[in-house]
Amino acid sequence: MLEIEKLSVSYGTVQALQEVDLKIAGAGVLHGVIGPNGAGKSTLLDAVSGRRRPTAGAIRYLGENITRRSVAWRRRRGMARSFQRTNIFQDLTVREQLALVAWRLRDDRVEDVIEVMDLGDYLDEKAGRIAYGVQRRVDVALALIGRPQLLLMDEPGAGLSAEETLRLFEHVRELIRERGIAAVVVEHDVDAVFACCGVVTVLDLGRHLATGAPAEIRADKRVITAYLGSAA
C-alpha cells in the first residue's frame, strides 16, 4: 500500500529524517509509529502526506511514485490525514465543514462518518465553540470523508487523557477493520499503541530503529535504551 524508500528530510542544517525505509501493509492494520521526542515522527507524516518535500528518497503509494505530488492530489487519491494540533474550520458549523469536504470528495455517506465519530449532537454548532475533545473528533471526521484508503493520524491522543486515548485507538481500530482502511498512527502514548496496533515502528533521532509486533518491540533492548536515554 505505502512504501517509503530511503526517505530523508532536513530543515536547514537539522536532519529530521535520515534514510528511513518503511512498508505499510494493506487494509485493516493499525500501524503505530513511536519514538522519543525529536525522533521525526511528525516529519514522517508530513513527508508522506505531502506537507513537506523530502530532500531525498521516494514515497510509493499504491505502486505509484507520489513524491512530487501535491497535498490535494494525495487526498483525492485516498490518503487522508488528521492533525496533532486541531486543524478545523473554526467559523463553520460541523455540518457545513463536513458537507463541504464531502462535496469535494464526492462522498454521499457523510452520515456514517458523523455516527462513527459521534458528532450528531454538534452538527449545527460553530466548530470554534465546541469542546476541544469534540473538535478533535471533527478533525478526524474530516479525514474520514471520501472513503480514504490510507489514514495518517498525527498524535490523535494529544490533549486527551490516557483512558480517552485508549478508547479512541480502539475505536479507530474497529473503524479501519470495518472499512478496510490502512492506518498509520503517530503517537506519544505508548500504552495505547501497544494495546491496539498490529505493527509498531520505532524511530529515534530521525532513523528507523525497529519494526515488528508490539510484543517484540516492547522487549527490544535498543528501543528501551532509546527511550530511557532520552527520558530526563
Binding site: 502526506s49 501535491s70 497535498v71 490535494a72 487526498r75 483525492r76 487522508a80 490525514r81 486543524n87 478545523i88 474550520f89 473554526q90 467559523d91 463553520l92 455540518r95 457545513e96 465543514q97 463536513l98 458537507a99 463541504l100 469536504v101 464531502a102 462535496w103 469535494r104 470528495l105 454521499d108 455517506r109 457523510v110 452520515e111 458523523i114 455516527e115 450528531g120 452538527l123 474530516l142 479525514a143 470523508i145 471520501g146
Partner: protein, 347 residues
Amino acid sequence: MNGEAAARVPVQRDALRAPTARAGWRIGAGAAALLAFGVGAVAPQYVASDFILKLADGGLLLGILALAIACLMSQTGLVTIGAASVYGGVGYFFAIGMTEWDLSPLAAIAVSMVVVILYAAALGALIIRTTPLAFMMLTLAAGEMISHAVLLEGLRDYTSGADGLVVSFQGTLFGLESGDFTNAARFWAIVWTAAWVAGLAAWGVRRSRFGAVLRATRQNEERMRFSGFDTYAPRLAAFVFVNVIAGACGLLHVLNSGFVSPESLGLGVSTNALVAALIGGTATSAGPLVGGLIFAFAQDEFGARGFTQLLTGIAIVLFIVVFPGGVVGALDAFVRGMFRKRQRESD
C-alpha cells in the same frame, strides 16, 4: 439507503447553501426588489437637482468599485489597493482604442475588457500564492507602476501624460447616445442598473458553493488542501471577477465624465473606494454601494474645507472600531434587534 437510515442524523448534501426560504416569501421579496429597482431608477431625476444627481452618480460609481473590493475582501480575505488602476486604466484603453486604433465604441469596450481580464489573470497568477500582506503590497506595486507608466514620456503620444485624454464617441452604444451617459439625470438610471447587476452578481457569489469554498479557504487554507481542494484557482477566479466589475465600472465612469487622467487610476481612488466599503459595510452588496454614496456626499460637504483626508482617517477608525459592520451592518443589527425584542415581548 438502508433500514437504519431513519435512526441516523440527517445531513443535507446542500447543507452549505443558505436555507431555502418558503416560496411565498421569495416571491414577495423578489417583487419588492423589482419595485425598489424600478422606483430607484426613475424617481430621483424628478426629485433631486442636477447637482445632487451628479454627486450621486459619482457616489454610486465609487460604490460599485467599493463593492468589488469588498467582495474580494469578505470572501477571500485579500485586500487590493490597486483596483483604481483597472478602474482608470480601462478608460485609457477605451480612449486609445477609438482614437489610435480606429475601433468602434463597442469594439473598444470589448478590447478594454479583454485587457482587464488578461491583466487580472496574469497579476493574480503571480501574487495570489503570497501572504495576504504581500498580496496587498503587490497590488499597490502594480497600481503604482501603472500610474507611473501613464506619465512616462515614451507613452506621451498615447496617454497625453499628466493632461489626460478627452473621451467621447459618436453614434450609439447599446442603443444609448453619448449624451445619455454624460447627462447627470439620464446617467443615474444607467449606473443604478449597473449597481443592481453588480450587487446581484456579488450576492450570487456569496450564496454559491464557489463563495463557500472561498470563505473556507480564507479560514483554513491548509485544511482545504488536505481535503482535496485546489486553493489557488478559486481565488484567482475571484480576483479576475472583482477586477471585471472594477473594469466595467471604470468604463461607465469614463463614459460619464468624458475624461480620463492619471488621477482616475491613482492610489487616492483606490483608498476612497476602500473607505467607502468600510463605511457601508463589506458583508453585503448594499453596504459598499451605500458607502459610496455616503462618501461622495460627505466629501462634497466637508472636502471643500480641506478636511477630506482627516475625515477619511476618522471614518476608517470609526467604522472599524465602533461600527464594524458599517452603516448597513449597523442598520441590519438594529432591525434584527427590534425583531428579537418584539418576539420576546410577544412570548
